[in-house]
Subunit: 248 residues, 2 copies
Protein backbone atom coordinates (compact mmCIF):
# COMPACT_ATOMS: atom_id res chain seq x y z
CA UNK A 1 0.00 0.00 0.00
CA UNK A 2 1.23 3.44 -0.91
CA UNK A 3 -0.56 6.57 0.20
CA UNK A 4 -0.42 10.25 -0.64
CA UNK A 5 -2.09 13.03 1.28
CA UNK A 6 -3.30 16.27 -0.32
CA UNK A 7 -3.75 18.94 2.32
CA UNK A 8 -5.32 22.31 1.53
CA UNK A 9 -4.02 25.22 3.61
CA UNK A 10 -6.88 27.51 4.56
CA UNK A 11 -6.67 30.97 6.10
CA UNK A 12 -4.04 32.44 3.76
CA UNK A 13 -4.37 36.25 4.00
CA UNK A 14 -4.87 38.46 0.91
CA UNK A 15 -1.51 38.76 -0.86
CA UNK A 16 -0.21 41.98 -2.41
CA UNK A 17 2.96 43.18 -4.10
CA UNK A 18 5.94 42.48 -1.88
CA UNK A 19 4.16 40.01 0.40
CA UNK A 20 6.58 37.41 1.72
CA UNK A 21 4.95 34.26 0.36
CA UNK A 22 7.43 31.89 1.99
CA UNK A 23 6.65 33.32 5.42
CA UNK A 24 2.89 33.32 4.72
CA UNK A 25 3.00 29.66 3.69
CA UNK A 26 5.11 28.53 6.62
CA UNK A 27 2.83 30.42 9.03
CA UNK A 28 -0.28 28.94 7.41
CA UNK A 29 1.11 25.41 7.61
CA UNK A 30 1.69 25.89 11.34
CA UNK A 31 -1.78 27.36 11.88
CA UNK A 32 -3.28 24.43 9.97
CA UNK A 33 -1.34 22.02 12.19
CA UNK A 34 0.56 20.49 9.27
CA UNK A 35 4.14 21.65 9.88
CA UNK A 36 6.18 21.07 6.71
CA UNK A 37 8.18 17.83 6.49
CA UNK A 38 11.03 16.51 4.38
CA UNK A 39 9.69 15.41 0.99
CA UNK A 40 6.57 17.61 1.02
CA UNK A 41 5.58 19.22 -2.27
CA UNK A 42 4.23 22.73 -1.66
CA UNK A 43 1.74 23.55 -4.41
CA UNK A 44 0.85 27.22 -4.94
CA UNK A 45 -1.61 28.76 -7.37
CA UNK A 46 -0.16 31.17 -9.89
CA UNK A 47 -2.54 33.88 -8.74
CA UNK A 48 -0.88 34.60 -5.39
CA UNK A 49 2.61 34.34 -6.87
CA UNK A 50 1.65 36.89 -9.52
CA UNK A 51 0.09 39.17 -6.91
CA UNK A 52 3.17 38.97 -4.66
CA UNK A 53 5.33 39.83 -7.69
CA UNK A 54 3.12 42.76 -8.65
CA UNK A 55 2.04 41.23 -11.97
CA UNK A 56 -1.21 43.23 -12.05
CA UNK A 57 -2.12 45.70 -14.76
CA UNK A 58 -4.60 48.55 -14.42
CA UNK A 59 -6.81 48.27 -17.49
CA UNK A 60 -7.49 52.02 -17.62
CA UNK A 61 -3.80 52.73 -18.27
CA UNK A 62 -3.70 50.61 -21.45
CA UNK A 63 -3.48 52.12 -24.99
CA UNK A 64 -4.68 49.49 -27.47
CA UNK A 65 -2.78 49.26 -30.76
CA UNK A 66 -4.67 49.41 -34.09
CA UNK A 67 -4.22 45.63 -34.32
CA UNK A 68 -5.72 45.13 -30.87
CA UNK A 69 -8.68 47.27 -31.97
CA UNK A 70 -9.31 45.14 -35.06
CA UNK A 71 -8.95 41.89 -33.14
CA UNK A 72 -11.24 43.18 -30.42
CA UNK A 73 -14.00 43.77 -32.95
CA UNK A 74 -13.58 40.30 -34.40
CA UNK A 75 -13.54 38.62 -30.97
CA UNK A 76 -16.11 40.94 -29.34
CA UNK A 77 -13.65 41.60 -26.55
CA UNK A 78 -12.48 44.81 -24.82
CA UNK A 79 -9.58 46.25 -26.91
CA UNK A 80 -7.62 47.06 -23.75
CA UNK A 81 -7.88 43.46 -22.57
CA UNK A 82 -6.83 42.28 -26.06
CA UNK A 83 -3.81 44.59 -25.90
CA UNK A 84 -2.73 43.09 -22.56
CA UNK A 85 -3.18 39.54 -23.87
CA UNK A 86 -1.14 40.31 -26.99
CA UNK A 87 1.62 41.84 -24.88
CA UNK A 88 1.96 38.46 -23.11
CA UNK A 89 1.76 36.43 -26.33
CA UNK A 90 4.67 35.15 -28.36
CA UNK A 91 2.56 33.37 -30.98
CA UNK A 92 -1.18 33.21 -31.60
CA UNK A 93 -2.14 29.55 -31.95
CA UNK A 94 -5.82 30.28 -32.61
CA UNK A 95 -8.24 33.21 -32.48
CA UNK A 96 -11.87 32.23 -32.30
CA UNK A 97 -15.11 32.70 -30.33
CA UNK A 98 -13.93 35.36 -27.89
CA UNK A 99 -10.73 33.47 -27.20
CA UNK A 100 -7.10 33.96 -28.07
CA UNK A 101 -5.17 30.72 -27.66
CA UNK A 102 -1.65 31.97 -27.10
CA UNK A 103 1.76 30.51 -26.90
CA UNK A 104 3.21 32.62 -24.11
CA UNK A 105 6.77 33.78 -23.61
CA UNK A 106 7.18 30.77 -21.28
CA UNK A 107 6.21 28.33 -24.07
CA UNK A 108 2.85 27.60 -22.42
CA UNK A 109 -0.16 27.28 -24.70
CA UNK A 110 -3.31 28.54 -23.00
CA UNK A 111 -6.35 30.76 -23.34
CA UNK A 112 -5.68 34.51 -23.31
CA UNK A 113 -1.97 34.06 -22.50
CA UNK A 114 -2.95 33.28 -18.91
CA UNK A 115 -4.27 36.84 -18.44
CA UNK A 116 -7.12 36.66 -15.99
CA UNK A 117 -9.46 38.89 -14.03
CA UNK A 118 -10.79 36.48 -11.42
CA UNK A 119 -9.86 37.00 -7.77
CA UNK A 120 -8.43 40.47 -8.45
CA UNK A 121 -10.10 43.88 -8.03
CA UNK A 122 -12.36 44.84 -10.94
CA UNK A 123 -10.08 47.29 -12.79
CA UNK A 124 -7.07 44.99 -12.75
CA UNK A 125 -5.84 42.10 -14.85
CA UNK A 126 -3.49 39.47 -13.51
CA UNK A 127 -0.56 38.27 -15.65
CA UNK A 128 1.46 35.07 -15.22
CA UNK A 129 4.74 35.45 -13.31
CA UNK A 130 7.65 36.55 -15.53
CA UNK A 131 9.48 33.28 -14.85
CA UNK A 132 7.40 30.78 -12.85
CA UNK A 133 10.36 28.36 -12.66
CA UNK A 134 12.52 31.08 -11.15
CA UNK A 135 9.71 32.04 -8.76
CA UNK A 136 9.43 28.39 -7.68
CA UNK A 137 13.16 28.08 -7.14
CA UNK A 138 13.28 31.22 -5.01
CA UNK A 139 10.24 30.26 -2.95
CA UNK A 140 11.64 26.80 -2.40
CA UNK A 141 14.96 28.05 -1.06
CA UNK A 142 13.20 30.60 1.18
CA UNK A 143 10.83 27.99 2.63
CA UNK A 144 13.72 25.56 3.18
CA UNK A 145 15.65 28.29 4.97
CA UNK A 146 12.69 29.12 7.23
CA UNK A 147 11.87 25.50 8.07
CA UNK A 148 15.10 23.53 7.73
CA UNK A 149 13.29 20.79 5.80
CA UNK A 150 13.75 19.74 2.19
CA UNK A 151 10.66 20.46 0.13
CA UNK A 152 9.72 20.90 -3.51
CA UNK A 153 7.57 23.67 -5.00
CA UNK A 154 5.03 23.54 -7.83
CA UNK A 155 3.28 26.69 -9.10
CA UNK A 156 -0.01 25.84 -10.81
CA UNK A 157 -2.69 27.24 -13.04
CA UNK A 158 -5.81 25.62 -14.49
CA UNK A 159 -5.87 25.30 -18.28
CA UNK A 160 -8.47 24.09 -20.74
CA UNK A 161 -7.42 21.51 -23.29
CA UNK A 162 -8.56 20.40 -26.74
CA UNK A 163 -10.93 17.44 -27.03
CA UNK A 164 -12.04 17.41 -23.42
CA UNK A 165 -14.45 19.57 -21.43
CA UNK A 166 -13.32 21.42 -18.33
CA UNK A 167 -10.02 22.69 -17.06
CA UNK A 168 -7.43 20.79 -15.01
CA UNK A 169 -4.50 21.88 -12.88
CA UNK A 170 -1.12 22.11 -14.63
CA UNK A 171 2.37 22.93 -13.41
CA UNK A 172 3.68 26.22 -14.84
CA UNK A 173 6.69 26.54 -12.52
CA UNK A 174 8.52 24.11 -10.28
CA UNK A 175 11.66 23.37 -8.34
CA UNK A 176 13.01 20.31 -6.56
CA UNK A 177 11.37 17.53 -8.52
CA UNK A 178 11.62 15.86 -11.91
CA UNK A 179 8.43 16.86 -13.79
CA UNK A 180 8.34 13.88 -16.18
CA UNK A 181 8.63 10.24 -15.18
CA UNK A 182 10.04 8.29 -18.10
CA UNK A 183 9.26 4.58 -18.31
CA UNK A 184 11.45 4.13 -21.39
CA UNK A 185 13.71 1.14 -20.90
CA UNK A 186 11.54 -0.25 -18.12
CA UNK A 187 9.54 -3.41 -18.73
CA UNK A 188 5.94 -4.18 -17.87
CA UNK A 189 4.81 -7.23 -15.93
CA UNK A 190 4.94 -9.33 -19.13
CA UNK A 191 8.46 -8.26 -20.11
CA UNK A 192 7.27 -5.95 -22.92
CA UNK A 193 9.18 -2.71 -23.29
CA UNK A 194 7.18 0.32 -22.11
CA UNK A 195 8.20 2.33 -25.15
CA UNK A 196 6.31 5.57 -25.12
CA UNK A 197 5.04 6.05 -21.60
CA UNK A 198 6.21 9.28 -20.06
CA UNK A 199 4.03 10.50 -17.22
CA UNK A 200 3.73 14.23 -16.52
CA UNK A 201 3.80 13.79 -12.77
CA UNK A 202 4.10 17.51 -12.05
CA UNK A 203 0.82 18.10 -13.91
CA UNK A 204 -0.76 15.21 -12.03
CA UNK A 205 0.42 16.77 -8.76
CA UNK A 206 -1.07 20.10 -9.87
CA UNK A 207 -4.39 18.40 -10.66
CA UNK A 208 -4.39 16.52 -7.37
CA UNK A 209 -3.75 19.74 -5.45
CA UNK A 210 -6.49 21.55 -7.37
CA UNK A 211 -9.01 19.13 -5.83
CA UNK A 212 -8.50 20.78 -2.41
CA UNK A 213 -7.89 24.31 -3.67
CA UNK A 214 -11.23 25.28 -5.18
CA UNK A 215 -11.71 28.55 -6.99
CA UNK A 216 -13.78 30.65 -4.64
CA UNK A 217 -12.42 29.51 -1.29
CA UNK A 218 -9.25 30.96 0.07
CA UNK A 219 -7.09 27.87 -0.39
CA UNK A 220 -4.33 28.93 -2.77
CA UNK A 221 -1.78 26.55 -1.23
CA UNK A 222 -1.76 22.78 -0.79
CA UNK A 223 0.76 20.29 0.51
CA UNK A 224 1.23 16.98 -1.29
CA UNK A 225 2.69 14.59 1.26
CA UNK A 226 3.96 11.07 0.69
CA UNK A 227 4.78 11.25 -3.01
CA UNK A 228 8.32 9.91 -3.59
CA UNK A 229 9.80 13.02 -5.20
CA UNK A 230 13.00 12.54 -7.20
CA UNK A 231 15.54 14.69 -8.99
CA UNK A 232 15.06 18.25 -10.14
CA UNK A 233 13.88 20.07 -13.23
CA UNK A 234 11.69 22.84 -14.60
CA UNK A 235 8.10 23.24 -15.73
CA UNK A 236 9.57 24.49 -19.01
CA UNK A 237 10.33 20.81 -19.74
CA UNK A 238 6.56 20.17 -19.73
CA UNK A 239 5.93 22.62 -22.56
CA UNK A 240 6.17 20.77 -25.87
CA UNK A 241 8.36 22.45 -28.44
CA UNK A 242 6.29 23.49 -31.49
CA UNK A 243 8.31 21.27 -33.83
CA UNK A 244 7.52 18.22 -31.69
CA UNK A 245 3.82 19.12 -31.57
CA UNK A 246 1.63 17.63 -34.27
CA UNK A 247 -1.14 20.09 -33.35
CA UNK A 248 0.77 23.33 -33.86
CA UNK B 1 -7.92 22.60 6.39
CA UNK B 2 -9.26 20.07 3.92
CA UNK B 3 -7.45 16.86 3.21
CA UNK B 4 -7.71 14.10 0.64
CA UNK B 5 -5.97 10.76 0.79
CA UNK B 6 -4.92 8.78 -2.29
CA UNK B 7 -4.35 5.14 -1.39
CA UNK B 8 -2.89 2.67 -3.86
CA UNK B 9 -4.10 -0.90 -3.46
CA UNK B 10 -1.23 -3.34 -3.97
CA UNK B 11 -1.44 -7.09 -4.35
CA UNK B 12 -4.21 -7.23 -6.95
CA UNK B 13 -3.92 -10.62 -8.69
CA UNK B 14 -3.64 -10.96 -12.48
CA UNK B 15 -7.10 -10.38 -13.97
CA UNK B 16 -8.55 -12.42 -16.84
CA UNK B 17 -11.84 -12.64 -18.71
CA UNK B 18 -14.67 -13.22 -16.29
CA UNK B 19 -12.71 -12.19 -13.17
CA UNK B 20 -15.00 -10.66 -10.56
CA UNK B 21 -13.41 -7.22 -10.26
CA UNK B 22 -15.74 -6.04 -7.51
CA UNK B 23 -14.79 -8.98 -5.33
CA UNK B 24 -11.08 -8.58 -6.15
CA UNK B 25 -11.18 -4.90 -5.19
CA UNK B 26 -13.10 -5.43 -1.98
CA UNK B 27 -10.70 -8.24 -0.98
CA UNK B 28 -7.66 -6.10 -1.82
CA UNK B 29 -8.99 -3.18 0.21
CA UNK B 30 -9.35 -5.47 3.24
CA UNK B 31 -5.87 -6.96 2.75
CA UNK B 32 -4.44 -3.45 2.50
CA UNK B 33 -6.20 -2.50 5.73
CA UNK B 34 -8.25 0.26 4.10
CA UNK B 35 -11.79 -1.12 4.24
CA UNK B 36 -14.03 0.95 1.92
CA UNK B 37 -15.97 3.83 3.48
CA UNK B 38 -18.93 5.97 2.50
CA UNK B 39 -17.78 8.65 0.06
CA UNK B 40 -14.71 6.80 -1.22
CA UNK B 41 -13.93 7.08 -4.91
CA UNK B 42 -12.62 3.76 -6.25
CA UNK B 43 -10.31 4.47 -9.18
CA UNK B 44 -9.51 1.58 -11.54
CA UNK B 45 -7.23 1.52 -14.57
CA UNK B 46 -8.87 0.68 -17.86
CA UNK B 47 -6.46 -2.21 -18.38
CA UNK B 48 -7.92 -4.53 -15.75
CA UNK B 49 -11.50 -3.61 -16.69
CA UNK B 50 -10.73 -4.48 -20.32
CA UNK B 51 -9.06 -7.73 -19.30
CA UNK B 52 -12.00 -8.74 -17.09
CA UNK B 53 -14.34 -7.99 -19.98
CA UNK B 54 -12.25 -10.01 -22.43
CA UNK B 55 -11.34 -7.00 -24.58
CA UNK B 56 -8.15 -8.64 -25.85
CA UNK B 57 -7.46 -9.39 -29.50
CA UNK B 58 -5.02 -11.99 -30.77
CA UNK B 59 -2.99 -10.17 -33.42
CA UNK B 60 -2.38 -13.33 -35.46
CA UNK B 61 -6.12 -13.66 -36.15
CA UNK B 62 -6.36 -10.23 -37.83
CA UNK B 63 -6.81 -9.78 -41.61
CA UNK B 64 -5.71 -6.23 -42.52
CA UNK B 65 -7.81 -4.42 -45.13
CA UNK B 66 -6.12 -2.82 -48.18
CA UNK B 67 -6.52 0.56 -46.47
CA UNK B 68 -4.80 -0.74 -43.31
CA UNK B 69 -1.95 -1.98 -45.51
CA UNK B 70 -1.48 1.43 -47.15
CA UNK B 71 -1.67 3.26 -43.82
CA UNK B 72 0.77 0.81 -42.26
CA UNK B 73 3.36 1.64 -44.92
CA UNK B 74 2.92 5.35 -44.40
CA UNK B 75 3.11 5.08 -40.59
CA UNK B 76 5.73 2.28 -40.50
CA UNK B 77 3.41 0.29 -38.30
CA UNK B 78 2.30 -3.40 -38.33
CA UNK B 79 -0.75 -3.63 -40.68
CA UNK B 80 -2.53 -5.94 -38.24
CA UNK B 81 -2.13 -3.42 -35.44
CA UNK B 82 -3.36 -0.68 -37.79
CA UNK B 83 -6.41 -2.79 -38.63
CA UNK B 84 -7.27 -3.20 -34.94
CA UNK B 85 -6.84 0.54 -34.31
CA UNK B 86 -9.07 1.41 -37.27
CA UNK B 87 -11.73 -1.02 -36.03
CA UNK B 88 -11.89 1.01 -32.78
CA UNK B 89 -11.85 4.38 -34.58
CA UNK B 90 -14.87 6.48 -35.51
CA UNK B 91 -12.88 9.35 -37.00
CA UNK B 92 -9.19 9.87 -37.66
CA UNK B 93 -8.19 13.24 -36.19
CA UNK B 94 -4.56 12.99 -37.34
CA UNK B 95 -2.17 10.43 -38.84
CA UNK B 96 1.48 11.23 -38.41
CA UNK B 97 4.81 9.87 -37.13
CA UNK B 98 3.74 6.32 -36.30
CA UNK B 99 0.61 7.57 -34.57
CA UNK B 100 -3.07 7.54 -35.35
CA UNK B 101 -4.92 10.10 -33.26
CA UNK B 102 -8.43 8.66 -33.20
CA UNK B 103 -11.79 9.79 -32.08
CA UNK B 104 -13.12 6.53 -30.64
CA UNK B 105 -16.67 5.24 -30.57
CA UNK B 106 -16.86 6.65 -27.03
CA UNK B 107 -16.03 10.17 -28.26
CA UNK B 108 -12.56 10.02 -26.69
CA UNK B 109 -9.67 11.51 -28.67
CA UNK B 110 -6.46 9.61 -28.03
CA UNK B 111 -3.48 7.90 -29.61
CA UNK B 112 -4.21 4.63 -31.44
CA UNK B 113 -7.85 4.57 -30.29
CA UNK B 114 -6.66 3.45 -26.87
CA UNK B 115 -5.38 0.15 -28.33
CA UNK B 116 -2.37 -0.88 -26.31
CA UNK B 117 0.05 -3.78 -25.87
CA UNK B 118 1.58 -2.98 -22.49
CA UNK B 119 0.86 -5.28 -19.56
CA UNK B 120 -0.67 -7.94 -21.80
CA UNK B 121 0.95 -11.10 -23.27
CA UNK B 122 3.03 -10.44 -26.38
CA UNK B 123 0.59 -11.64 -29.07
CA UNK B 124 -2.38 -9.72 -27.70
CA UNK B 125 -3.67 -6.17 -27.98
CA UNK B 126 -5.90 -4.62 -25.36
CA UNK B 127 -8.93 -2.54 -26.42
CA UNK B 128 -10.86 -0.02 -24.32
CA UNK B 129 -14.02 -1.36 -22.66
CA UNK B 130 -17.08 -1.24 -24.96
CA UNK B 131 -18.80 1.21 -22.61
CA UNK B 132 -16.59 2.38 -19.75
CA UNK B 133 -19.48 4.34 -18.21
CA UNK B 134 -21.60 1.20 -18.15
CA UNK B 135 -18.66 -0.79 -16.72
CA UNK B 136 -18.25 1.81 -13.98
CA UNK B 137 -21.94 1.76 -13.14
CA UNK B 138 -22.00 -2.02 -12.87
CA UNK B 139 -18.82 -2.19 -10.78
CA UNK B 140 -20.14 0.50 -8.49
CA UNK B 141 -23.38 -1.31 -7.76
CA UNK B 142 -21.53 -4.60 -7.23
CA UNK B 143 -19.05 -3.05 -4.80
CA UNK B 144 -21.84 -1.27 -2.93
CA UNK B 145 -23.70 -4.57 -2.65
CA UNK B 146 -20.62 -6.36 -1.28
CA UNK B 147 -19.70 -3.65 1.22
CA UNK B 148 -22.90 -1.84 2.10
CA UNK B 149 -21.17 1.54 1.73
CA UNK B 150 -21.83 4.27 -0.84
CA UNK B 151 -18.88 4.72 -3.17
CA UNK B 152 -18.16 6.19 -6.60
CA UNK B 153 -16.16 4.58 -9.40
CA UNK B 154 -13.79 6.15 -11.93
CA UNK B 155 -12.17 4.11 -14.72
CA UNK B 156 -8.98 5.74 -15.96
CA UNK B 157 -6.46 5.71 -18.73
CA UNK B 158 -3.40 7.88 -19.37
CA UNK B 159 -3.56 10.07 -22.47
CA UNK B 160 -1.09 12.39 -24.11
CA UNK B 161 -2.24 15.89 -25.00
CA UNK B 162 -1.30 18.62 -27.46
CA UNK B 163 1.11 21.34 -26.36
CA UNK B 164 2.43 19.57 -23.30
CA UNK B 165 4.91 16.74 -22.80
CA UNK B 166 3.93 13.56 -21.01
CA UNK B 167 0.69 11.78 -20.35
CA UNK B 168 -1.74 12.34 -17.49
CA UNK B 169 -4.55 10.29 -16.01
CA UNK B 170 -8.03 10.92 -17.44
CA UNK B 171 -11.46 9.54 -16.58
CA UNK B 172 -12.91 7.39 -19.39
CA UNK B 173 -15.78 5.90 -17.38
CA UNK B 174 -17.43 6.85 -14.12
CA UNK B 175 -20.44 6.45 -11.88
CA UNK B 176 -21.63 8.18 -8.73
CA UNK B 177 -20.06 11.60 -9.12
CA UNK B 178 -20.50 14.73 -11.19
CA UNK B 179 -17.43 14.87 -13.50
CA UNK B 180 -17.44 18.65 -14.07
CA UNK B 181 -17.60 21.27 -11.35
CA UNK B 182 -19.14 24.38 -12.81
CA UNK B 183 -18.32 27.71 -11.18
CA UNK B 184 -20.69 29.62 -13.48
CA UNK B 185 -22.86 31.92 -11.42
CA UNK B 186 -20.49 31.73 -8.45
CA UNK B 187 -18.49 34.79 -7.48
CA UNK B 188 -14.81 35.07 -6.58
CA UNK B 189 -13.53 36.77 -3.42
CA UNK B 190 -13.82 40.20 -5.12
CA UNK B 191 -17.40 39.69 -6.29
CA UNK B 192 -16.41 39.13 -9.95
CA UNK B 193 -18.40 36.49 -11.81
CA UNK B 194 -16.40 33.31 -12.43
CA UNK B 195 -17.63 33.09 -16.00
CA UNK B 196 -15.79 30.32 -17.73
CA UNK B 197 -14.34 28.18 -15.00
CA UNK B 198 -15.47 24.60 -15.22
CA UNK B 199 -13.14 22.16 -13.52
CA UNK B 200 -12.86 18.60 -14.83
CA UNK B 201 -12.69 17.09 -11.35
CA UNK B 202 -13.02 13.50 -12.60
CA UNK B 203 -9.87 13.97 -14.69
CA UNK B 204 -8.13 15.56 -11.70
CA UNK B 205 -9.13 12.55 -9.59
CA UNK B 206 -7.77 10.26 -12.33
CA UNK B 207 -4.47 12.17 -12.35
CA UNK B 208 -4.25 12.15 -8.56
CA UNK B 209 -4.81 8.39 -8.49
CA UNK B 210 -2.23 7.83 -11.22
CA UNK B 211 0.41 9.18 -8.83
CA UNK B 212 0.09 6.03 -6.69
CA UNK B 213 -0.65 3.61 -9.51
CA UNK B 214 2.57 3.55 -11.47
CA UNK B 215 2.89 1.65 -14.73
CA UNK B 216 5.06 -1.31 -13.86
CA UNK B 217 3.93 -2.02 -10.32
CA UNK B 218 0.82 -4.01 -9.71
CA UNK B 219 -1.32 -1.15 -8.41
CA UNK B 220 -4.24 -0.90 -10.82
CA UNK B 221 -6.64 0.35 -8.15
CA UNK B 222 -6.58 3.38 -5.88
CA UNK B 223 -8.99 4.82 -3.36
CA UNK B 224 -9.52 8.58 -3.20
CA UNK B 225 -10.77 9.33 0.28
CA UNK B 226 -12.00 12.66 1.63
CA UNK B 227 -13.06 14.35 -1.59
CA UNK B 228 -16.59 15.74 -1.21
CA UNK B 229 -18.22 13.83 -4.07
CA UNK B 230 -21.53 15.21 -5.36
CA UNK B 231 -24.20 14.22 -7.85
CA UNK B 232 -23.86 11.72 -10.65
CA UNK B 233 -22.92 11.72 -14.32
CA UNK B 234 -20.84 10.05 -17.01
CA UNK B 235 -17.33 10.34 -18.40
CA UNK B 236 -19.00 10.88 -21.76
CA UNK B 237 -19.75 14.43 -20.51
CA UNK B 238 -15.98 15.04 -20.39
CA UNK B 239 -15.56 14.36 -24.10
CA UNK B 240 -15.97 17.60 -26.01
CA UNK B 241 -18.33 17.43 -28.95
CA UNK B 242 -16.47 18.08 -32.22
CA UNK B 243 -18.60 21.15 -33.00
CA UNK B 244 -17.62 22.73 -29.68
CA UNK B 245 -13.94 21.94 -30.25
CA UNK B 246 -11.89 24.64 -31.96
CA UNK B 247 -9.11 22.09 -32.57
CA UNK B 248 -11.13 19.51 -34.54
Amino acid sequence: MSSIQIIGLGGIPEVSQGSDLAEIIVEASKKNGVRLQNGDVVVITQKIVSKAEGRLVDISSIEPSPFAHRVSKFLQKDPKVVEVILSETERVVKMVRGLIISQTKHGLVCANAGVDHSNVPRNLLCLLPVSPDRSAKKLRSQIMKLTGVKISVVITDTFGRPWREGQTGVAIGLSGLRPLDDYKGKKDDFGNDLKVTVIAIADEIASAADLVMGKTDRTPVAIVRGYPVEGDGTAKALTRKPLRDIFR
